[in-house]
C-alpha cells in the first residue's frame, strides 16, 4: 500500500517532511474531537496521509466492536489531511460527502487508515481511504469522499501556515 512511499530507502524521513508531519500532528492534537479519539498522524506525503487510532472501550458498539462512527471520524480526518498535503498547497478543506463501506470492525488493538487524494480539480478534491486492523492486517472499511478545497490569498498552504506559526511560537 506504499506505507513508506514518503521515506528514504534507508527508512529515515527527509527533514522537511519530518517538520510537516510534526506540525500537522500538533494541529490534529489541537482538534478536540480528534484528540478525544486519540488520533495520531503516522505518515504524510504528497496528497497522502496515514493515521492511527486505538480501539478503546468507549469507542465500541453493542457487539463490542469499534463503532462505525468512530471509524468514520478517523477516515474523514485522514482524508482531509491528505487533501491539505496536496502539492497545490490548499489552505483548508471541508467534507462535501463521504461514502463508507464497513467490512469487519476490530474488537481491540489499533486501526490504521491510509488516505490518497486521487484528483484535485476546480477546487474539489476526490479522496479514497482504506482502514485496516493493525493486528491482523484485515480490511476494516473503505471510503470515498469529495472535499471542497480553499486556497490562501498569497498561495500559502496549510502546512506552510503551520510551519510559520511554529516558527513564531
Amino acid at each position: 500500500m506504499g506505507m513508506t512511499s514518503s521515506s528514504f530507502e534507508d527508512g529515515t524521513v527527509p527533514p522537511d517532511q519530518a517538520d510537516h508531519i510534526h506540525v500537522a500532528q500538533s494541529f490534529i492534537t489541537r482538534l478536540p474531537f480528534a484528540a478525544a479519539l486519540q488520533m495520531q498522524l503516522v505518515d504524510l506525503g504528497s496528497a497522502y496521509a496515514v493515521m492511527e487510532m486505538p480501539v478503546l472501550p468507549q469507542f465500541l458498539d453493542a457487539n463490542g466492536r469499534l463503532h462505525e462512527g468512530a471509524l468514520s471520524a478517523l477516515m474523514d480526518t485522514c482524508a482531509g489531511t491528505a487533501v491539505v498535503a496536496h502539492e497545490s498547497r490548499p489552505l483548508g478543506t471541508a467534507t462535501l460527502d463521504l461514502r463508507l463501506d464497513f467490512i469487519s470492525a476490530p474488537m481491540q488493538g489499533r486501526v490504521r487508515t491510509v488516505a490518497q487524494c486521487d484528483a484535485l480539480c476546480a477546487d474539489v478534491a476526490f479522496v479514497s481511504v482504506q482502514a485496516t486492523d493493525l493486528m491482523t492486517g484485515a480490511l476494516v472499511a473503505k471510503a470515498n469522499g469529495s472535499f471542497a478545497v480553499e486556497y490562501g490569498a498569497q498561495g500559502q498552504g496549510f502546512l506552510d501556515a503551520m510551519l510559520q506559526q511554529k516558527g513564531q511560537g
Binding site: 453493542a62 468514520s72 474523514d76 461514502r99
Partner: protein
C-alpha cells in the same frame, strides 16, 4: 418510554439521548466542546455528524421491530452529505426507513440544529438485519 434503544458505549461517550416528537422518534446530541472538529471556525467534527446519523438510523430500525437493543442491525454502508457547517450547539436527528426487508434495510436520516427545516447533514445507509455472531 417503552422502547429501549441499543446501548452503545460510543453513543454514551458522545452523550446522545432520545426523545419523541409526536409519533416521531428522534435523537439529541447536546453540544460539548469535545465535539468540535475545527476550533478555528468553530465547527462540529464531520465524524460527530456521521455518528449521530448512523446511531439514529440504527435505533429507528430497532424501534420498528428490526433487531433488538442487544443485537441491533449491522451497518453495511453509509453515505453522508454535509450540507452546512455544524455550529457549536445542540444537534438533532430523525430517520425514515425506506424499506426493511427480510435480510436488508435501507434508511434515510437527516440532522439539524436550531431549525428542523434547515438540515445540516443528510445521509442514506444500508443495514444487515440478520446479525451474525
Amino acid at each position: 418510554m417503552e422502547f429501549q434503544p441499543p446501548d452503545l458505549p460510543f453513543a454514551r461517550f458522545l452523550g446522545i439521548t432520545w426523545f419523541t416528537d409526536g409519533s416521531d422518534f428522534c435523537a439529541k446530541l447536546p453540544f460539548c466542546p469535545m465535539l468540535i472538529g475545527n476550533p478555528l471556525l468553530p465547527a462540529l467534527h464531520g465524524g460527530v455528524s456521521a455518528t449521530l446519523l448512523q446511531i439514529t438510523a440504527q435505533a429507528a430500525l430497532v424501534e420498528s421491530g428490526n433487531g433488538s437493543a442487544s443485537q441491533p442491525p449491522r451497518l453495511i454502508d453509509f453515505t453522508v452529505d454535509y450540507l452546512r457547517r455544524g455550529q457549536p450547539e445542540d444537534s438533532y436527528a430523525k430517520a425514515r426507513i425506506t424499506r426493511a426487508g427480510r435480510r436488508f434495510a435501507s434508511v434515510s436520516v437527516t440532522m439539524w440544529q436550531a431549525d428542523p427545516d434547515t438540515p445540516i447533514a443528510a445521509a442514506h445507509g444500508h443495514f444487515a438485519l440478520v446479525v451474525g455472531s
